[in-house]
């Protein structure tokens, strides 16, 4: 069941523990919500094919452990990633402040070859909110994030549109393109932009 004709994109979810990375992914994948998900130890992996306009892309979702000490593993987790979704909890000021560190980690490893996306989750917790929408937007702008959204996995709010937005930022190639290194080398001549967004696959 090879899906080599599909464009595959690696999307990594980062952020402090308990901000709702797993629940965001689960909402997107299965449209369900549970208040207790098992802690992610190391990393977990899910994938989904997404139909968008008349194109199809394959999203590979990497769910990571949020505890700070797991950070030493982050470089190998975000290797080759196209999109880094950094999640904070709108009811936790601390998780918001620590965004900077996550973004720094991503930039150290991937430079400019990654789309940064900032998500303020748990926006249903209106009474406990500690981070305003404006603060979130400002931070996203400051870090040059291409996407900023507030979501609620619990209510399913903005989750679908988050993934749609992510998909739309992906470089859309013809169906036959870049499934592996041969694919990438075929693409090299097409234009300069493509090679800069893709060269992360070759080495590092």
């Amino acid at each position: 069941m090879s899906k080599s004709n599909l464009s595959k994109y690696k999307i990594v979810f980062l952020g402090e523990q308990n901000v709702g990375k797993t629940s965001l992914i689960t909402r997107f994948m299965y449209d369900t919500f549970d208040s207790t998900y098992a802690a992610t130890i190391g990393i977990d992996f899910l994938s989904k094919t997404m139909y968008l306009d008349d194109k199809t892309v394959r999203l590979q979702l990497w769910d990571t452990a949020g505890q700070e000490r797991f950070r030493s593993l982050i470089p190998s987790y975000i290797r080759d990633s196209h999109v880094a979704v950094i999640v904070y909890d709108v009811s936790s000021k601390k998780s918001f402040e620590l965004l900077d560190k996550w973004i720094e980690d991503v930039k150290i490893e991937r430079g400019e070859n990654v789309i940064i996306c900032i998500v303020g989750n748990k926006n249903d917790l209106t009474d406990e909110r500690q981070v305003s929408l404006q603060d979130g937007e400002a931070k996203a702008k400051a870090h040059g994030a291409k996407i900023f959204l507030e979501t609620s996995s619990k209510l399913g709010y903005n989750v679908k549109s988050l993934f749609k937005k992510i998909a739309k930022t992906l470089p859309e190639f013809e169906a036959a393109g870049k499934s592996g290194e041969e694919g990438a080398s075929e693409m090299i001549d097409i234009n300069v932009e493509n090679t800069t967004t893709q060269d992360g696959q070759c080495q590092c």
Partner: protein
């Protein structure tokens, strides 16, 4: 236990030795890990206890109590039977501990459950097994030294569920350490609240394997307390997500906070490089990845290149396996069996062998898959365990059957040196200085201690010294290592001189036997309680054996005298 069964055990051991010599894989001795780890356990115990460190090996610690064979048989039938489940429908046979003690079935038991229960009721340990476990429980280290192959055989077979808690207590040597002291320590630690208590609570609530004794809220709360105390006690480790998986099997067995706490501390002390896996920067993990990948690439070149072709990084699932001890995906019934091996043969080597076994058993399937996603999903879920058909015995025997030679401390140390020199040469190219810095700090704190695998048995002090010197040269940046090395060196001299230099026993395959017999005799004789005439008989029998086989030692004379006095009274 009488002399006849002892003789039988010894014969079995001799036969197993012959068999394993015939099957010898890549000139490895399958008992090597077992014996090396035993050294770590016993030397740890010496270091830990200031009282014991002053005594020489002819005055072994006195066990508080000798447990008689009858007691073991009774325990086998009664205690811990809560964990018994029906052979056919796998449902638990008992509702409460009281039921289990009386072996009373649940009121709504099905026929298959009643049948299983009947079978259990009539099951007894046969005399040979009983003798073995008697020996093991009353004198763990000498039992292993005397019967290494048979010990492996019994571990492969599985520690009987009902004896597991006492057997683990013996291996971990946690009952000889002062209970009161640990109780006070534990209580006082829990007066404090770990900065990570919220995470601990959250993790224990949401992710814990479904083991006996770890199901209800009050039990989970106790696990939280254990982790809280541990994270304060071992402040350089604190709490790491994944530790909850390590703690729960212990709690499940002991059903006691303090024993569980002691077990955890002891586990980290005996497996000294373990703290690097769980500490604040998880610095040791990258070394383990490197060591494992080297072994994997060497042993499974086809699979390794297949992974390269699919652009799969082993670390993706290794991190989950290593940090959770496989507990995220392993079938629950495998977990105690895996820990039997971990406790007997060391954590790192057992984790490595299990990982390699998983890859090996799945190899054929993997080679037919040409999709990176499927491979990742396979290994990050319980699907990869299907190769053992939900049979914990199949898993254990395959695990114990794997050649140990790649996992000896000598081999792992060599890989560690390789890794360190690689790191050093790469350092100028490192793009991430902060992580790299942490990483090196971690290395400094772990390598120096880690590599001192005490090799009392190898009878070559020279090799030990060369190990030490190579280690201190590798980690010369760590200020503490030279003095430690010197102390260790002296320790080896002291220990090795305590062993009679020439022991020749005709029936023995090595000097272990005589040494083991001697120690057992001394130990049992010194024990305050000898409850059975059988035990006395055994002692004198062993003494005769020692003498008949030419073991000459002044200590034996002492034993003989004491024995005579006892027999008279």
């Amino acid at each position: 236990m009488n002399s006849e069964t002892l003789q039988q055990l010894l014969e079995l051991e001799a036969n197993l030795t012959k068999v394993s010599a015939l099957e010898a894989k890549e000139d490895s001795n399958q008992t090597e890990l077992l014996l090396a780890h035993l050294d770590k356990i016993t030397s740890q115990n010496d270091v830990n206890s200031p009282i014991k460190s002053s005594t020489s090996s002819d005055e072994l610690p006195i066990d508080a109590q000798v447990i008689s064979a009858d007691e073991i048989q009774t325990k086998f039938k009664e205690q811990g039977s809560l964990s018994w489940s029906c052979d056919q429908c796998h449902e638990s046979l008992f509702v409460s501990e009281d039921d289990a003690r009386d072996l009373a079935a649940k009121s709504d038991s099905k026929d298959c459950c009643l049948e299983t229960l009947q079978k259990y009721k009539s099951t007894e340990l046969d005399s040979l097994e009983l003798s073995f476990w008697w020996f093991f429980i009353n004198n763990f280290s000498n039992c292993v030294l005397t019967l290494p192959n048979y010990t492996r055989f019994m571990i492969t077979k599985g520690v009987p569920n009902s004896l597991r808690s006492i057997v683990w207590t013996k291996i971990l040597q946690i009952e000889t350490t002062e209970h009161d002291y640990y109780e006070r320590l534990y209580r006082s630690l829990n007066m404090d609240v770990s900065s990570e208590l919220k995470i601990i609570e959250n993790d224990v609530r949401r992710s814990i394997p479904g083991l006996t004794n770890v199901t209800n809220d009050s039990q989970k709360q106790k696990i939280v307390s254990v982790l809280n105390a541990f994270s304060i006690y071992e402040s350089h480790i604190g709490y790491c997500q994944g530790l909850q998986f390590l703690v729960s099997p212990f709690f499940s067995q002991f059903n006691d906070e303090i024993d569980c706490f002691k077990a955890l501390i002891q586990l980290f002390q005996v497996n000294h490089n373990l703290s690097g896996i769980y500490d604040h920067s998880m610095s040791g993990l990258n070394l383990w990845f490197y060591q494992f990948e080297e072994i994997f690439n060497d042993q499974f070149p086809t699979l390794s290149s297949h992974f390269q072709h699919l652009n799969i990084d082993l670390k993706m699932f290794l991190s989950q396996w290593f940090v959770s001890l496989f507990a995220v995906t392993i079938p629950v019934s495998f977990l105690p069996r895996l820990l039997d091996v971990v406790l007997m043969e060391g954590l790192q080597s057992t984790i490595f062998r299990t990982s390699l076994l998983l890859l090996k058993e799945n190899e054929e399937l993997l080679l037919s898959i040409d999709d990176d996603e499927l491979v990742m999903k396979h290994f990050l879920s319980d699907m990869c365990w299907c190769v053992f058909h939900n049979d914990e015995s199949e898993f254990t025997s395959k695990l114990m059957d794997m050649s140990v030679c790649k996992f000896t401390s000598a081999n792992l140390d060599a890989l560690e040196s390789q890794f360190n020199s690689k790191i050093n040469s790469n350092s100028s190219h490192s793009r991430n200085k902060s992580i790299f810095g942490k990483f090196m700090d971690g290395l400094k704190s772990t390598t120096s201690i880690d590599s001192y695998s005490s090799r009392l048995r190898s009878n070559s002090i020279a090799s030990t010294i060369s190990t030490i010197s190579s280690v201190s040269s590798v980690s010369s940046t760590a200020p503490s290592s030279p003095t430690d090395a010197k102390q260790r060196q002296q320790e080896y001299h002291r220990r090795s001189s305590a062993i009679p230099p020439k022991l020749s026993i005709s029936i023995s395959h090595s000097s272990n036997l005589s040494e083991g017999l001697k120690c057992l005799a001394i130990d049992s004789c010194q024990s305050s309680i000898i409850s059975h005439d059988d035990d006395l008989d055994l002692l004198s029998e062993m003494l005769k054996l020692c003498i008949a086989n030419g073991v000459e030692d002044p200590v034996l004379e002492k034993v003989k005298m004491r024995l005579e006095i006892r027999a008279d009274s």
